[in-house]
């Protein structure tokens, strides 16, 4: 046999890593690789559809990672929402690696989407993220690692919140981990610091991940909103800046009381209504009211001018 080329070596390495998930799933190319596992496109021969198969792919502490992958599958299984990827199946491969099968999501990572979308579209996508996270909170699940890397936007602006591997479920003990969840995430062996720098709530960064509540996700969403608003380099409107400021307040008690409240305030901004997080001045209020009711004001103004003109003409 002739010596293997560099390309052949890389493909053979992929071949070794590629999971063999029984007769049901025909595993194809790798779609992505994270700190915990790799995701492959696979074909479900029974239901005749393409799916995504996530399998453990790194070592370090295989048992802890395996437990985390299993936990992620269980968390996802209890969340049925269009913004959260659905789990179809789970199991253990012949070689001992755990896996789970989920809906194959098509789309772009939030960062890539933000490069080509306008502010209005970005804010509507942000509201989609809030909806998914608020739904999870209603089912006692806190994501704890919200960041642009964990959000995908589909062709029609639909949102998927991914990577629930470090999610906390009320009433369950928080996962004790020693690996990073996504690129840039930081965790400790005690499971104390969990999240992505820049998007992680201060109470998580200072070692309180186990006791962090839904307001930690509110902080993450606020940081994502700031990231989206900065995507185009333009100045952030003051009401929006106030929303970000309140969502990312260092003291959790000063943040929005819920993700729904945060989303409502963003909707207020989009609809030209008063943003509750923002204390607006008289001029600012006038400008907002004018912008919101521009047609009506111009109509009334035109009517007034016409009346004055008629009166003046009759007076002459």
């Amino acid at each position: 046999m002739k010596p293997l080329s560099g390309a052949a070596i890389e493909r053979l390495r992929e071949t070794i890593d590629r999971p063999h998930a029984g007769d049901r799933y025909d595993v194809h190319e790798m779609l992505g690789r994270g700190g915990m596992g790799s995701v492959y496109r696979a074909h479900d021969s029974i239901l005749g559809r393409d799916v995504a198969l996530k399998v453990l792919s790194t070592d370090a502490d295989a048992a802890a990672l395996a437990s985390r992958l299993a936990r992620e599958a269980r968390v996802l299984a209890r969340l049925e929402h269009p913004g959260i990827v659905a789990v179809h199946d789970a199991g253990v491969l012949e070689d001992g690696r755990p896996f789970y099968v989920m809906r194959l999501a098509h789309g772009k990572q939030l960062d890539a989407y933000a490069m080509s979308a306008g502010r209005g579209d970005l804010l509507r996508v942000f509201l989609g993220i809030c909806d998914a996270v608020a739904y999870a909170h209603a089912r006692d699940v806190i994501h704890r690692d919200l960041s642009p890397a964990n959000i995908m936007v589909g062709e029609f602006g639909e949102v998927l919140v991914l990577d629930w591997g470090v999610a906390k479920v009320a009433g369950e003990s928080a996962p004790s981990l020693s690996q990073s969840s996504a690129v840039g995430s930081v965790t400790t062996a005690d499971g104390v610091v969990i999240g992505t720098p820049g998007f992680m709530a201060p109470e998580q960064a200072s070692g309180g991940a186990a006791t962090a509540d839904t307001r930690a996700d509110t902080y993450g969403l606020g940081a994502i909103l700031r990231h989206l608003c900065n995507a185009h380099g333009a100045d952030i409107p003051r009401p929006l800046a106030s929303i970000i400021e309140r969502a990312t307040a260092l003291n959790p008690a000063e943040r929005f009381e819920s993700v729904s409240a945060l989303a409502d305030d963003v909707r207020h901004f989009l609809d030209g209504e008063r943003v509750l997080a923002h204390r607006e001045g008289i001029l600012e209020r006038g400008a907002r009211l004018y912008k919101r009711n521009q047609a009506l004001i111009l109509l009334l103004l035109a009517y007034a001018i016409m009346r004055v003109t008629i009166l003046l003409w009759r007076g002459i």
Partner: protein
């Protein structure tokens, strides 16, 4: 829902990843055997795995021709066997791969210096390998050695898979794997399942099964080769992770 080949999802957090079967013993450990024949057999396995990386490093580091590099590699392994160098590997100090590479560089540097000295009327020095792990090594040389070692391990595993297929009367399986996963990768022009089916006179529906079987066995042979070429569980896991990026426990 999941079919028979896949085990049921484990309950509870206490579940652990299963250990891969240890099908071969460590030849690195056998290098220190009291039995001379065992040591010699183990050295032969080490030479088979490391010959190509050793030659590549000698060529790269001292700009030798392939013939000169092969001769020097032969001298290196002959000296290693005669002087029992490899049995002095201490797994507590690092990987066997690192130890061997450093021994090689020390040997080659000494041989190079001796060659120059002989030109000036001097003789051959004894090689000291006591501080083998402490020798600083150029990154480029390290990369060359590691890449060639990966190539060597994969080639050994491919040979083992081919023999495996022959012994189990699965020549067609080997042919499918070779055409699709080995030669197809070389040319970046993989044959289609239909073309393979026609070429090898196999039902197209069987191609996936053949590939799955061969890939699974190939993976097992790679892991078994790594198990053979490492001295401890920790070194084995370390090598698997660094070379393949796959999980073992």
């Amino acid at each position: 829902m999941t079919l028979a080949l896949v085990a049921p999802w484990p309950r509870g957090e206490s579940w652990r990843v299963r250990r891969f079967p240890e099908t071969r013993v460590s030849v690195v450990s056998a290098l220190a055997s009291d039995d001379a024949a065992t040591r010699e057999r183990a050295t032969a396995v080490v030479i088979a795995a490391y010959r190509t990386p050793v030659i590549a490093v000698l060529q790269r580091r001292w700009d030798l021709s392939i013939e000169d590099a092969e001769d020097l590699a032969h001298d290196f392994f002959a000296q290693a066997l005669a002087r029992d160098w490899l049995s002095r590997y201490d797994s507590g100090k690092g990987r066997f791969r690192t130890f061997l590479r450093t021994c090689l560089l020390a040997f080659a540097a000494t041989a190079h210096e001796s060659a120059n000295r002989q030109k000036r009327g001097g003789g051959f020095d004894h090689l000291s390998i006591d501080d083998a792990f402490a020798v600083a090594v150029d990154d480029e040389i390290t990369d060359t050695f590691d890449q060639e070692w990966t190539r060597s391990v994969l080639s050994l595993a491919l040979d083992a898979l081919r023999r495996d297929c022959e012994e189990h009367g699965r020549l067609s399986t080997w042919q499918v794997f070779e055409a699709y996963d080995v030669e197809g990768n070389e040319t970046d022009n993989r044959p289609t399942y239909a073309a393979l089916s026609k070429q090898l006179d196999i039902p197209a529906t069987q191609i996936t099964n053949y590939l799955n079987w061969a890939r699974r066995r190939f993976r097992e042979h790679v892991l078994a080769t790594l198990r053979e070429l490492t001295a401890s569980d920790a070194e084995y896991r370390d090598e698997v992770r660094s070379m393949l990026g796959v999980t073992v426990s």
